[in-house]
Amino acid sequence: MKLKTLMLGAVAAAGLAPAAFAERGADGEVKIIYWQAPSILNPYLSSGTKDIESASLVIEPLGRYDPDGALVPYLATEIPTVENGGVSADLTSITWKIKEGLLWSDGTPFTAEDVKFTADYCMDPSGGCAQLAKFDGVGSVDVIDPLTVKVTFKAPTPNPYGPFMGGQSPIIQKAQFEACMGANASSCTEQNFNPIGTGPFKVVEFRPNDVITMEANPNYRDPAKPAFAKLTFKGGGDAEAAARAVMQTGEFDYAWNLQLAPDVIKSIAEGGKGTPVSAFGTLVERIEMNMTDPSPDLPEGERSTVAHPHPFLSDVRVRKALSMAIDRALLVELGYGQAGRPTCNLVPAPANYASDNTDCLAQDIEGAKALLEEAGWTDSDGDGIRDKDGKKMSILYQTSTNAVRQDFQAVIKEWWSEIGVETELRNIDASVYFGGDPGSPDTFQKFYADVEMYAKNFDGTDPQSYLSMYRCGNEPKPSSQWQGENINRFCDPAYDALLDELARTGELSKRGDIAKRLNDMLTKDSYTVVPLVDRGRVSAHAVTLGGVALNTWDSELWNAADWFRIKSN
């Protein structure tokens, strides 16, 4: 089954290319550039995309997601389900069967002990494991026999594919990492920089924040793969330079995540040495409305807390009017091109969970004005800005520093000014904005602004924990050191009740219905979250590189073993 799936994937992705795989290492060298440089090759210590994806060439999980979000076995013989008996009927355990004859790159056999060790390594309380959420609810991991491992959960778990599934939770070798448990995790430099794996490549030299050189793993399970004997993984610079290196100068074969305006990508792609490819996942660029008052006049500790509702954004009509004024199709055209689609949903995919809500897609400036009039906001003093009871409708709109986001801010400010809302823009450096420092007034959690814009997605294909973020009481607040995920300070008991129902439901179609209802409650019913763009991923590969299948559900380099050089003759 595995071979068939892979073959299908490779053929589908590179249908034009003759899939004539020669022997291992026959195609020489492949060069990959990421404009963020990997700093460590241990995904359990850093969850940065650059770190996870570079490590995915070396260490592998039991199963991965394919470009459609379907589960594909890698080190396992098949994906355990209730139907094939791999997942217990009460949803409390999952049993993985490992392929026979797997070897680590150092030649030692891969066993269930390594799988169990991986879980112990991450779940060690003093280790500070970045993927702990993947092991949430895991009661025990037991080795049944050298090729079978069973994960038992503390409670019924409708989605048991957290541990050992996807690029975030690959298997590390017990023999290598045994001395690195808990507090020792940080000092194991050699292990973290050069993990022994089962993947198609093994590390020759790792230079943190710069470049990794790899060579084909001699013990890789498919003797014909990988096609490349050598792999160079360069990091650093910016997206524009990476795009140039692949599509204009042809120095590199693959460039990751080209966050550039569509006209810039188009003009660079005219170089003809490479092609941009795009795919969609769950990343949604959105405007979050602050339901609480961020006014600087309030004493510190009460700003942006539930103690003070927002003077006008707490009115659903105002929020709806602000959303109606936005032309999402134009935003996509300006900022993302083929890598974006207008959306009204917080959960845009997978299909089972995506709501059909498209209410917001048409811009309606007049309707927005009427709605504001209805809410009592009129321009009584004739300065072009609506007011009510002496309070002006003036909005502070913050986001992180990023050329596309600043363009969005400018355009949206313009639309809002058309409906009589004054907007002040602020952009904050991403390392401060997304850092959770409770001492800084500029973090997105603190939300000392009326609205803010950023993008967020969820891991894997199940949105339950994602939707649970908007639970009452989960908001950032002084008593929780401003940590918390309910950024809008949204609170609706009906929503919470529905969340509890979701957690109890195992049947996929019912889960989908509940998730859609939850999504609608946050978006079209309350306009708490105003989704703008369903953001895809644009990467580029050289025209001579075959086998690339862009995957947003797992590591982009998930199928690097199948990559090959297209011969020109």
Binding site: L260, T401, A403, Q409, E414, L425, N427, P441, D442
Partner: protein, 326 residues
């Protein structure tokens, strides 16, 4: 001496001065004459006045709002593109073209120049002032040398980014409350650039002062009882003027560029508020298709800096009595 001079011609009659041919010229006048005779300085002054007037008055004449978005007319080329490409998308309504959101380039250049010039000048003067005072004090007063130079070392080794973030955290809200969003930001930016760029000036001035204060003319001034303050202003400062003027020219360029770097970090003006540095930085990604977007702000910055440089040259020549009148 009080005795009347005997009548009659004397042998040294021939050497007697006829009295000055012209009334005595003031020193300022000499300087001014020399300055106006300096071609470079005059050209520099002309351009500087021109640019300053353009950014001050320009926005009233070309009264298009630089922040006004006009998506239908985005990516317009400047009028002069017609000269070689008659199919280019141009319009007299946007003589220098428009950016990717359709904002008028000329209006952005004018109002951006206002911000850049203001930031550049104020920050440069502030940094020169601090640098010169610290440098002179350290070079002249031996007791202060150690402490002031160690302070310079501290500032030199301080990484700027965290310092900026601290300043923003502590001061943005109070300044914003006191001077409004743009005024508060202006003060913060100018202060940050000023206090992070005075160190080279201080070190250079100190080095020169150390050498100058051992010269004979300072000894002479001291021996006739000149007060230290007077020695500094009258004898030392004029002699370190030329490195200070070089620092000023370089400092202006640095300040204009640094401002744009700050806005990337979210410390600068709001993102839709144009400045030359920011226009240049934003346009780099599209420089092949729209070279004018980098050229115009780039030329504006270079012209300003060049003018100041030539002005500085002229001033230096005019103030140097040995060079004057050559």
């Amino acid at each position: 001496m009080t005795e009347p001079v005997p009548a009659g011609p004397t042998p040294i009659e021939a050497l007697h001065d006829e009295g000055p041919a012209a009334p005595p010229r003031s020193q300022m006048r000499d300087i001014w004459d020399q300055f106006t005779r300096h071609k470079g300085a005059m050209v520099g002054a002309f351009f500087l006045v021109f640019i300053t007037l353009a950014v001050l008055i320009g926005p009233y004449i070309w009264s298009v709002d630089p922040q006004k978005i006009d998506i239908r007319n985005k990516d317009m080329r400047p009028i002069y593109t017609m000269l070689w490409d008659s199919s280019a998308k141009v319009s007299w309504a946007k003589p220098l073209g428009s950016d990717q959101l359709g904002r008028d380039h000329l209006a952005q250049l004018l109002s951006g120049g206002r911000a850049s010039m203001a930031v550049g000048w104020v920050a440069m003067v502030l940094s020169l002032l601090i640098g010169t005072v610290v440098g002179v004090m350290a070079g002249f007063v031996k007791r202060l040398d150690g402490i002031l130079m160690r302070m310079t070392d501290l500032f030199l080794s301080m990484p700027i980014l965290p310092l900026l973030l601290v300043a923003v955290t502590l001061f943005r809200q109070p300044l914003r409350a006191a001077f409004g969003p743009e005024g508060g930001m202006f003060i913060l930016i100018v202060a940050i650039i000023g206090i992070t760029s005075w160190m080279p000036t201080a070190r250079i001035v100190r080095g020169d002062i150390l050498a100058l204060k051992e010269r004979e003319f300072v000894l002479a001034a001291r021996s006739i009882g000149t007060k230290p303050f007077r020695i500094i202003t009258r004898h030392l400062l004029p002699n370190v003027l030329s490195p200070i003027l070089v620092s000023a020219t370089l400092g202006l360029a640095t300040a204009i560029i640094t401002e744009s770097a700050l806005s990337f970090l979210g410390v600068g003006f709001p993102s839709d508020f144009p400045t030359w540095g920011k226009m240049l930085a934003d346009a780099v990604a599209r420089m092949e298709d729209f070279p004018e977007r980098v050229m115009l702000p780039g030329v504006a910055i270079s012209l300003t800096v060049l003018s100041v440089n030539y002005l500085g040259d002229g001033l230096r020549d005019a103030l140097d009595p040995r060079a004057r009148g050559r």
